[in-house]
């Protein structure tokens, strides 16, 4: 008796039969963006807001002040941070807990998480995390009810193809794309903000370009 693997591969070969000549894929869709930097940023912000994320904009160097502003606005005092999140960007005041292998239940007991991102896409209002030392493991931005994400204009692409290609070096790390807080439309197709993932998403867009 052959194994399932051999048998399935055999079935696939038999089913394909004579192979037609390989046809090229016409990638005639938009790949590179066309917007100016300012318009791209405006589009990103409006798309984020469209999906219920709250957006702060600041200049490079103003990160810690803006983080403080965002946390104060949400009344957050105890926030998780990834192991490699730069200490220089942390404001005085709130307590920051570095994730050095916390238990999931401990993470569940925190008020939220502050992370960086790898890339962002203006057209879809997406943040892309590849869960590096500054972004934290996946559980960090999943279990807590609040996520504050700092992203730089130098990381921002206009289109989906540009955004995904920006991951080239980190494709095989875990990748999470985030567009707004968690949501569902399962009840009468009405979009409800917040189910299992963070119910509140704040984004700080830092202009560094």
């Amino acid at each position: 008796m052959s194994t399932a693997r051999e048998e399935i591969l055999q079935r696939v070969k038999a089913a394909i039969g004579t192979r037609a000549p390989e046809e090229p894929v016409a990638r005639e869709y938009s790949q590179a963006g066309t917007l100016s930097e300012a318009d791209k940023l405006d589009l990103f912000v409006s798309r984020l807001e469209d999906y219920n994320a709250h957006v702060y904009r600041c200049a490079a160097g103003e990160e810690s002040a803006t983080i403080a502003e965002a946390l104060t606005a949400r009344g957050k005092t105890k926030i998780l941070i990834p192991p490699g999140f730069p200490a220089a960007r942390l404001p005085a005041g709130p307590t920051f807990i570095r994730d050095t292998g916390l238990d999931y239940r401990d993470i569940d007991a925190t008020e939220g998480a502050l992370t960086a991102a790898t890339a962002a896409i203006a057209m879809t209002g997406s943040l892309i995390l590849t869960h590096s030392e500054t972004e934290g493991r996946r559980a960090l931005t999943l279990i807590p009810d609040y996520h504050l994400c700092v992203v730089y204009t130098s990381q921002l692409s206009e289109t989906v193809p540009e955004g995904l290609r920006a991951l080239a070096a980190r494709r095989t790390s875990p990748v999470t794309t985030i567009a707004g807080p968690s949501a569902t439309a399962d009840i009468e197709m009405t979009r409800v903000k917040g189910v299992h993932g963070p119910r509140v998403l704040d984004v700080i867009v830092v202009s560094d370009k």
Binding site: E22, Y51, G101, L142, V160, A179, S182, I187
Partner: protein, 465 residues
């Protein structure tokens, strides 16, 4: 080998099931309202994409290329996934897949599994198999949870509880979650689901998911979702099992840029769904310590073998065809007697399972073409429906009366003289036809007056001009 697609082999024929569902006015109202909403949302976000047709074409070509060399891509995926720490299993059919999954869970002495929405596990009736050996499957997608708690059947591929309105859902939650009180808004209901599942997400050691895409080039798997339950299931458990049909492969990571644009806009009318998770094998310090992939055939290679309908396997399960379908709009998904409903169900179920079990499905369409128009991967569903009808006729599956009628009509229409004779008979037979009516037709419609002179008779009488 026995191919099973949920319980569809035992389902009633489409007309029979539809007749019953058409009496359920509440269900029909829910379906119409939901599909109207989602169609409008889809139209709006598709409208803003000037390159939509180019994306559809690229997606179609990528899928075609995948199927052309599916054996190569499967082996490539297996190699890369294994190198990244995953373990790849192959399952010929539903029973084999379920046995593998049960074996993995039992090897860890676990009694529970948290699941993110997968059509393939509905196809193999995994939950039933798990329960039979004392393992509790927890559905975590809100709609799947509603279906599981309500002991119901899914009626839609993307929004399985679309046939329920919010007060019906509230009642199911009140009856099953042991809540003292529960509000009436969708937010209240979503909040109840969050509380109900949170403890399970943190407790259960085995996760189960499907995949929207599996990338041969990197051995990665991609899950597209909205609620975060998918991220929970693929991130928190120690052991993750992911099962998908062999057709879910795409050749390269770059191909995602096409599908991740088409799928959310087509499925839920969003520019991008809240979450996409892409992972490759096992990552130390982040997520499950053990990762199993099950590559499922369960009839897919049979579909692949038919050149005229193999593009059925291009499907990315967005359900845009369901939302666009005027037939689905009237009946909802249960009429199709399968977890795959709507136009795609009408072509997929019979092919996966064997035509003999579902000869009524390929006829459950007026061939209006709305499905083909919205399909993000350009599956020509009307053409495939006709192809399957032909297969039914060729295998002797059509009713004798129909076969005789078609034979007589074919003979008549092959010659204008014969046609003229039959036209005379129709004119003479008008009165008896009026008296008895035409079955099906005359229940709701009058027959047109039958003229005493055909056009060809008029033309002859008129003489050459």
């Amino acid at each position: 080998m026995s191919i099973r697609v949920g319980e569809s082999a035992e389902a009633a024929t489409f007309p029979k099931a539809a007749k019953k569902l058409l009496q359920n006015t509440q269900l029909r109202r829910n379906v119409r309202r939901a599909t109207d909403t989602i169609r409008a949302k889809r139209a709006k976000v598709v409208e803003e994409m000037p390159d939509w047709q180019a994306l559809r074409t690229a997606a179609q070509q990528i899928k075609k290329r995948t199927l052309r060399d599916l054996d190569t891509y499967l082996v490539e995926f297996e190699k890369n996934c294994t190198a990244a720490g995953g373990k790849v299993h192959w399952a010929r059919d539903a029973d084999e897949a379920n046995a593998i999954i049960i074996g993995i869970i039992q090897s860890h002495n676990q009694k529970e599994v948290i699941k993110v929405k997968t059509m393939t596990s509905d196809e193999t009736q995994l939950n039933k198999a798990l329960e039979a050996v004392g393992i509790s499957p927890w559905e975590t997608d809100l709609a799947d949870l509603i279906i599981q708690l309500g002991n119901d059947k899914p009626s839609h591929i993307v929004v399985p509880a679309l046939h329920k309105n919010k007060s019906e859902i509230r009642q199911i939650f009140l009856d099953t979650m042991g809540l003292k009180e529960l509000g009436h808004t969708p937010e209240d209901l979503a909040g109840a689901a969050r509380n109900y599942l949170r403890e399970r997400f943190l407790r259960v050691k085995v996760g189960f998911s499907g995949a929207n895409f599996a990338i041969a080039e990197t051995g990665s798997v991609c899950v597209v979702e909205s609620e975060g339950n998918g991220r929970m299931c693929v991130t928190l458990p120690d052991v993750l099992i992911t099962m998908f049909g062999v057709e879910k492969l795409i050749p390269s990571f770059d191909d995602l840029e096409v599908f991740l644009q088409l799928l959310p806009r087509s499925a839920t009318g969003e520019r991008m769904n809240p979450y996409n998770s892409i992972w490759t094998g096992v990552t130390p310090g982040d997520g499950p310590k053990e990762f199993h992939v099950i590559l499922l055939d369960n009839g897919r290679t049979k579909v692949l073998a038919d050149e005229e309908s193999r593009e059925t396997l291009h499907c990315i399960r967005c359900a845009a065809c369901l939302n666009a379908c005027p037939v689905y709009r009237q009946t909802g998904g249960h009429a199709y007697g399968s977890i795959y409903s709507g136009p795609i169900g009408a072509i997929l179920t019979p092919q996966l399972q064997g035509m003999e079990h579902s000869t009524s499905l390929p006829y459950a369409s007026s061939l209006c073409g709305a499905c083909y128009e919205v399909c993000p991967v350009k599956i020509n569903i009307p053409e495939i429906l006709i192809h399957l009808r032909r297969k039914i006729v060729e295998s002797g599956g059509a009713a004798l009366t129909e076969r005789m009628g078609m034979a007589v009509a074919g003979y008549t229409l092959a010659d204008s003289g014969r046609l003229a004779t039959v036209q005379k008979l129709v004119q003479i037979g008008r009165q008896p036809l009026d008296a008895i009516g035409l079955p099906g037709w005359s229940a709701a419609r009058d027959l047109p007056e039958i003229p005493t002179q055909t056009f060809r008779e008029w033309w002859k009488a008129r003489g050459a001009k």
